[in-house]
């Protein structure tokens, strides 16, 4: 097991008062709390800060932590025999657990966990996992395999990190950012306590053509100047194959054309829509012929797209 210097994590000295520890935690929590901070590294950092505070704010846990002695951060170490007043820690391997697991088990023992012979039910821990699926999988429904490890006691009463792996069926109708619940798939409860839950945050892998908003899809529709001016029928891809879309004449960039029921399916057998967002594009390097024709058009046309400038 690797040592973590909780005092160093909170930026306080080992003789810090409870008030100093609380102030240091508050300051860091404002900076790194995942519900407040947008720093991608913030979540991991806050986990460490929270773990350190949970131990040092509690006089009994802090005394047990101090009993572990001083080690450089990251150094492999073992708790002393019968550490923290817990009987039978001699012979534990401590290889598969980290310091936070150890203090979690310390709390459970104090609350009446299995090692204390009492029977207060302790609910299992909740977990949150993120998974990414493709837009096609969201359209058709899919199955994802989820894997994570949770600290559990084995048959010998030794604390170990145990892999949890299971499959979850993601039905049609899921949207980008969808939150879902898997009941009882979190950490194991103790003494008859219910198992924790698993919360799944589903996001879509960015698609090369489509962007999803709820059950609607958006696709950029590049049009030539002549298609936009004169109207046209163009082929537009959808998740169920291409469809012919009639573009009305005189359409401008940014306008949206709705293709009904070609979005993502929703739970009640309905579909969102597909919107084609018009983009008028011109050749970056026109050929001689194109250049000549554009010149002729410019000379013949009386169209002034900036007429409203002159009215001011």
């Amino acid at each position: 097991m690797k040592f973590k210097d909780y005092y160093e994590i909170l930026g306080v000295v080992r003789t810090a008062t409870q008030d100093d520890i609380k102030k240091a935690y508050r300051k860091l929590a404002h900076q790194y709390h995942p519900d407040v901070s947008k720093d991608p590294a913030g979540e991991e950092k806050f986990k460490e800060i929270g773990e350190a505070y949970a131990t040092l704010k509690d006089a009994e846990k802090r005394a047990a932590y101090d009993e572990l002695g001083r080690h450089p951060s990251g150094e492999e170490f073992r708790p002393p025999p019968n550490w923290g007043g817990q009987q039978g820690t001699q012979g534990y391997s401590f290889d598969d657990v980290d310091l936070s697991d150890l203090f979690a088990s310390f709390s459970k023992g104090r609350q009446g966990g299995q090692h204390q012979g009492r029977s207060m039910p302790i609910p299992g821990q909740d977990y949150e996992l993120a998974t990414q699926i493709s837009l096609e999988d969201a359209f058709n429904g899919t199955t994802v395999e989820l894997s994570f490890t949770v600290p559990e006691y084995d048959a010998q009463g030794q604390l170990k990190r145990v892999p949890h792996t299971f499959k979850a069926r993601i039905p049609q109708g899921v949207t980008d950012g969808q939150k879902m619940l898997l009941r009882g798939k979190g950490g194991k409860g103790a003494n008859g306590g219910s198992d924790g839950n698993l919360y799944l945050n589903i996001s879509f892998i960015p698609h090369r053509l489509f962007r999803a908003v709820d059950h609607d899809l958006f696709i950029d529709l590049p049009l030539t100047v002549s298609e936009a001016a004169l109207g046209a029928t163009v082929k537009v891809p959808t998740l169920e194959g291409a469809v012919n879309l009639k573009v009305p004449e005189g359409i401008t960039s940014g306008q949206k054309l709705r293709i009904g029921k070609r979005g993502l399916p929703s739970k009640n057998q309905e579909h969102g829509d597909l919107y084609a967002v018009v983009q008028i594009v011109v050749p970056a390097k026109p050929s001689d012929k194109e250049r000549e024709l554009f010149k002729q058009l410019a000379e013949a046309s009386t169209f002034n797209p900036r007429a409203h400038f002159e009215q001011e």
């Binding site: 395999e145 299971f166 993601i170 908003v213 958006f218």
Partner: protein, 105 residues
């Protein structure tokens, strides 16, 4: 390895949860949830208090609220206000995502 199969529960407007379920899932006490309803921060789907049910979308925001309450020791008044802001942020983020998606890439 034996891999079991699990069905998922939607956490949005398509799934309603009772007061008891919301308390269990969020980690907040039923009394705290009642106070959030009284202050207008939390709106039940039906008005009959004996049969209150809530949109599943509140599960994640009340879980966040519970975390913030524990981690920052929120005062009762700040408590309701925080949920209002969390919901507002969620709505604005969805609108922003929708606007971004309508712009040409």
């Amino acid at each position: 390895m034996n891999i079991d199969f699990t069905e998922l529960v939607w956490l949005d407007h398509r799934q309603e949860v009772s007061l008891g379920e919301l308390a269990e899932l969020s980690g907040l006490a039923q009394e705290e949830l009642r106070q959030l309803v009284d202050s207008g921060a939390l709106t039940p789907v039906n008005a009959d208090e004996k049969q209150w049910s809530f949109s599943g979308q509140y599960v994640m925001s009340t879980r966040t609220l519970c975390r913030l309450k524990q981690d920052f020791e929120l005062e009762p008044n700040a408590f309701a206000l925080t949920l209002v802001f969390l919901e507002r942020i969620r709505t604005l983020e969805l609108k922003l995502q929708a606007l971004d998606s309508q712009q040409p890439a």
